[in-house]
Amino acid sequence: MIQPSHQSDPYVAVKNVTIAFELSGGRKLVAVDDVSFEINRGEILGIVGESGSGKTILAKSILQLVPPPGKIEQGSILIDGVDILQYSDEEMRKRVRGTEVSMIFQEPLSALNPSFSVEWQIEEVFKLHREHDRNTRRQMAVELLRKVSIPDPERRIKEYPHQFSGGMQQRVLIAIALACDPKLLIADEPTTALDVTVQADIMDLLQKMREETGLAILLISHNLNLVTERSDRIMVLYASQLMEMGPSALIAERPLHPYTIGLMDSVPDIEVEDQKITAIPGEMPDLTVRRGGCVFQPRCKMAMEVCERIAPELIEVEPRHVCRCHLFSSEYSGVKSGGR
């Protein structure tokens, strides 16, 4: 088992992870390019990025469930200081999946097994990781449904996934994911498929679980508003690279990277009238082709001559706030701070 270490140490530390997909014809798609980040206990870390930016694959690597032919080519992933990339599939199953790290998905209905009752699906997690007898399992399953605020859990637990509404399905999924008290929940677009009102309920529930159990949450979304509102820190991915990472409040207030700024400007603000919504022109580069300069340069409004030649490094612009852009390097730019 993973021994809990000092509370101040990060719960999960992802270090220089590169994930690539070997394609036919010898081509290689780099889905995650040298990304490092940490998740603390009880922290909500948001990952923002457009489709194909590598968000989900990065998150799944913590469970070692990168879909084939994808491979974690380098780096290490430490959970409580132990490198789980050294674990076999068997060890992952016994020590990590479901008990340390769990995950919920975008489409709750398709993430539930349609052939079995909710009761079966929750009890299955207990069967895998705990040695309770049948009665205890039953009681715990009902208790779990009560915890995720499903009304009348004794009756509803016998029902099948399609008999629940979308929001209730997501609650069931959360119950299954949290059955064996994981310390980290990966929430992959948990509210994208739901009504706006239900979205808020689900996010409230996740935050409640965090407060009650000290659960850390890795919140994946392309919805910048949701992420800035709900997470403690944000990391922005673009074309498999980490572009900016920092406390949500800071990034919401003063985004540094031109891409983050572009993302912010493309989201309408309900309080501003006659607002211009600007899209980021162009599209994501082909990830199978390695280029010399900055990956965002072709779409960047503030691109300089150097951006085409030299790939920028991550720069700590202010404490705990990093950004991958030449605008903030003293070497290539006189400008010391970006902003809008």
Binding site: L63, F105, Y160
Partner: protein, 308 residues
């Protein structure tokens, strides 16, 4: 919000069974019956099939004579009468009794061959679809090879190996039915294994074998059942064909196919000799197809609404 799977607009508690919570067996049976009432074709098929099964099970009680008993009192080629409902054949045997006995051959061969074909093919296909890679290629090339051999040719080959008779028909059909089951299962596994609940099973730490059995298999079983049911009728026909050509059941066993072959010679003198076993064959195949189609609708929640 039951609207997705409940196009009938009925409430959760009284809908048709199967995909719903099976509270009691009685509930399930009632649901099935209600569905059948809504689907006339399936009702006809199922009733007919049930009738033929009853005939096959209670053959000795229903058939007035043995299939091989030559009538000392009667004469060959007797017309239908009270004592011989379907008349007698060239040997003076009671055609009605022979047709009734024939139901056992037809149903028996069909059930056993489809059962073994499915039992071998489906797991093979499921493994191929789940594991993929070289194993998948191997299984699929094997099934291509088997599929490229026509059924009749296969029957000839099997005859050459194990001699003729009922077991030839059963063995031939079982072999012929392996690739179809394998292909269907493989294709279904391929589509289902990409679903999120399979990924979710991995996330909670489920084993791969359990994932295949508990998360994939239950969700592909409906089409497999339907395929097997529809195959029953094709097996009945195939048995008749093989026996008709002389590779399968041998005289005096009353296979319907064999009876058709024997009566061919007297086609002009006694056409009824061919008509009765032929009619039995048609009815059984029709019943099987109607029941199979209905079963497909019954097992597919999307079809329910349009039928009721």
């Amino acid at each position: 919000m039951n609207s997705i799977t409940d196009p009938t607009g009925s409430t959760v508690d009284d809908g048709p069974a199967l995909m719903r919570p099976r509270r009691t067996t009685a509930d399930a049976v009632r649901g099935w019956l209600r569905f059948m009432r809504g689907n006339k074709m399936m009702m006809i098929g199922a009733t007919l099939l049930l009738l033929i099964v009853i005939v096959a099970v209670f053959t000795p009680l229903i058939a007035p004579y043995s299939y091989n008993e030559m009538m000392t009192s009667g004469r060959p080629f007797a017309r239908p009468s009270a004592s011989h409902l379907f008349g007698t054949d060239n040997f003076g045997r009671d055609v009605f009794s022979r047709v009734v006995f024939g139901s056992r051959i037809s149903l028996g061969v069909a059930l056993v061959s489809v059962f073994f074909g499915t039992l071998l093919g489906v797991p093979l296909g499921m493994l191929a679809g789940y594991i993929g890679g070289w194993f998948d290629s191997l299984v699929m090339r094997f099934s291509d090879a088997v599929m490229s051999i026509p059924t009749i040719l296969m029957a000839v080959a099997v005859t050459a190996m194990v001699g003729s008779g009922l077991r030839v028909v059963i063995l031939t059909l079982a072999i012929v039915y392996i690739p179809g089951g394998a292909r269907l299962a493989r294709g279904m596994v391929y589509s289902v294994k990409e679903r999120e609940y399979v990924a979710a099973a991995q996330v909670i730490g489920e084993r791969r074998t359990q994932t295949l059995l508990r998360y994939i298999f239950p969700n592909i079983v409906a089409p497999i059942i339907v395929q097997a049911t529809l195959r029953l009728s094709s097996a009945v026909l195939a048995e008749a064909t093989i026996s008709y050509l002389g590779y399968g059941t041998q005289a005096p066993t009353p296979s319907w196919g064999l009876m058709l072959a024997d009566s061919q010679v007297y086609m002009w003198q006694a056409p009824l000799l061919a008509i009765f076993p032929g009619l039995a064959l048609v009815l059984l195949v029709l019943a099987g197809n109607l029941a199979g189609d209905g079963l497909r609708d019954l097992l597919d929640p999307k079809f329910r609404g349009s039928l009721q």
